[in-house]
Amino acid sequence: MKTPLSWRNAWHNKVRSLVALCGIMFAILLIFMELGFYGAARTNAIAVYDMLDFDVAVVSPECMYLGQLGDFPRHRFEEIRSIDGVESLSPLWLQVGRWRNSDTREDWDMLAIAVEPSERPFRDSALNGRLPEVAMHDRALSDAVSRSEYGILTAGVGSELVHHRIRIVGQFTMGAGFVAGSAIITSRQTFLDVFQEASHERPNIGLVKIAPGASPRKIASEITAQMSPVATALTRSDFLKNEQAFWLRVKPIGIMFQTGVLVAVVTGTVVLYQVLVAEVQTRLREYSTLKALGYHDRFVYSVVVRQGLIYSWLAFIPAFFLSLLLYLLVRMKALVPIRMDIGRVGAVILLTSIMCLCATLLSLRKLKTSDPADLF
């Protein structure tokens, strides 16, 4: 084995190594957290839609996002059902209203999802099976992962939604979204009682299931052509993408996290650069000696680059495990659906490499000044 000069250099000055490792680890951890929150935001943004079972969504052309859906006439449903490939179509009503915490008597935004209890609009068939429970007046299922401000939302609890008495009869699991910190599922009838301005005739979304093998894109465009201008249809993936794009691009949530990532990358780069420049400065004569011994310039550069890589990779490992721990804490304490995935690990490795590359390239400029003729 060749003499591991970079490795030895990396650990020679203990304080410097520690600064490098901690600085870079912190930066990588920050990247993990920012990307984690970004990922959670993406998940959060479509938490409601993700629960729903549909291939194509029919909405009003005015539909912007979950908080501003618009509605369209139900009497045209038959036209949609008659389109080739459409298997079923169920209406859905969604609206945000003030929910009263029965203990503190404070009001909080609650997302109400209303279904026809006879239909099976959810992907979770167990949940579909429990829909008859809310068929009775003023009954609702509540989200088990709601924020604590909403008070206890277990079965048997009663409170008010827009001054209308509601009784919780069970729970489902969704997770707090961006429009509201909690959600309930009710029947269409309860919903219309609560929200006076809503109409039986004007649902907010039509959930279309298509025949196996049919093309959702083709059916969506057919529906759009048929229903224009009162409604428009989007495939499941387009519908979800639009919702994510709204929260992450139109709203500044995405920018926020991207800026956070950028700041973390810059921080890591600066720390690594400082450490490497200090290293090059103190070892300038040693690098010159390498050249005098007959090592090519590229070898001398690689000694520094490898040292940068050693710091980066070694900082990555604790940063990874720490972020797993922090994800767990955040998930448990803040109910943010933050999870590690392979893509994110890859992204962070990529960003770490970019960080390392920038820092070493910058520090190599300093190395160009090393001249073996100065050794004498």
Binding site: M1, K2, T3, L5, R8, N9, W11, H12, R283, R285, E286, S288, T289, L290, K291, A292, L293, G294, Y295, H296, D297, D371, P372, A373, L375, F376
Partner: protein, 370 residues
């Protein structure tokens, strides 16, 4: 290339000049350097500070590019080499610096290995060579130590081990003993000398350290970027012993005699050639290295008879005319091929000036001779 390689010289420099600074405002520090180094030769380069010794060393070591003149090192013409070739050439040269320049994070063994790893040798061979050289330098029990746990002398010896590990055919050292005490300095130079003998390596040492002068085969003196003297110690010894046989120089310290030797140039003469002619103005003093000459002098009695004397290696002639300023009082003809060292008039006087007593004795001697 082959022409130089065929001469077998390790270093051959012809009319090498070097300037620092910009093109518009150059500062020339080396002027027309002619300089050869033979395999197995240990040469010492001295001269006042700023005379260009280090510059010359870095040129030979391919650490600086040659601007003007011709430099052939280890059979390669430096100006024709690419950057990469220059770097590879350095692998065949051992550099020893005044500062040890060791890799601080590496142990003695690893420092030496860094040099050996530039050659194609396997790990076992590497470790064997590394241990051998370190042991040879008396560092067998310090192999696993890093520079900051070694003494100054030990560090310098590790640096020397690193420079010599690949048995370079050329070793360039700049003040290698400056950081060392007398004993370790001596040791270091002894090692260099042994390497030169065993491997027929050429060693060029820049030094002001007079304690190591005796190791040199040659002493080169640089002043203001010019070689003012390039003395073979053997030659100096020949000249000095010759001079000692002459009554006028006999009592002089050997240092004085080598001073003369330093100024002397080598000249050769064909058989039958007149070396000096009677009646001409004298401008040189001669010491015969090899061959023999005949001295023809008209008898003082005035007849046409001539006195003939034969002189051989170690003999000298021509000093009288130089000293008195009178025309040559004899003719000297080469009998066969003659190699002689000559001392020009101005150098002769320069050396004389340095010793009044010598001049007096010279005059007395001349009195007896004439």
């Amino acid at each position: 290339m082959s022409a130089e390689a065929a001469t077998g010289l390790t270093v051959s420099m012809k009319r090498v000049c070097h300037s620092y600074g910009s093109k518009e405002n150059p500062k020339q520090v080396l002027h027309d350097i002619d300089f050869d180094l033979m395999p197995g030769e240990v040469a010492i380069l001295t001269g006042p500070s700023g005379s260009g010794k280090t510059t010359l060393l870095t040129l030979i070591g391919a650490l600086r590019s040659v601007q003007e003149g011709e430099a052939v090192v280890l059979g390669r013409r430096l100006r024709e080499l690419t950057r990469a070739q220059l770097v590879r050439l350095r692998r065949e040269i051992g550099f020893i610096f005044q500062a040890h320049n060791l890799f601080e994070s590496l142990t003695a063994r690893e420092n030496v290995n860094m040099a050996i790893e530039l050659t194609n040798c396997d790990v076992h061979e590497r470790d064997r060579r590394c241990e051998a050289i370190l042991t040879r330098l008396g560092l067998s029990d310090r192999i696993g130590y890093k520079p900051n746990s070694l003494s100054g002398g030990e560090r310098q010896r590790v640096a020397i081990a690193r420079a010599l590990a690949n048995r370079p055919k050329l070793v360039l050292a700049d003040e290698p003993t400056a950081a060392l005490d007398k004993l370790s300095g001596r040791e270091v130079v002894d090692i260099l000398k042994t390497l030169a003998l065993e491997e027929q390596s050429s060693v060029l040492i820049v030094t002001h350290d007079t304690r190591i002068l005796d190791l040199a085969d040659r002493i080169i003196k640089l002043v203001d970027g010019r070689i003012v003297s390039d003395t073979s110690v053997k030659r100096a010894l020949l000249i000095a012993t010759s001079l000692q046989r002459c009554p006028i120089f006999a009592q002089q310290p050997i240092a004085m005699l080598t001073e003369f030797a330093a100024f002397m140039r080598r000249e050769s003469f064909d058989p039958g050639e007149d070396i000096i002619r009677e009646g001409e103005a004298g401008d040189k003093f001669y010491v015969i290295e090899s061959g023999s000459v005949e001295v023809l002098r008209e008898k003082t009695s005035g007849d046409s008879e001539v006195a003939r004397t034969t002189l051989g290696p170690g003999d000298f002639f021509g000093e009288v005319a130089l000293l008195t300023g009178a025309p040559r009082n004899a003719t000297v003809i080469a009998r066969d091929r003659v190699e002689a060292f000559t001392l020009a008039k101005e150098h002769f006087h320069e050396a004389l000036q340095r010793s009044k007593t010598l001049e007096e004795r010279l005059r007395t001697a001349l009195y007896y001779r004439s």
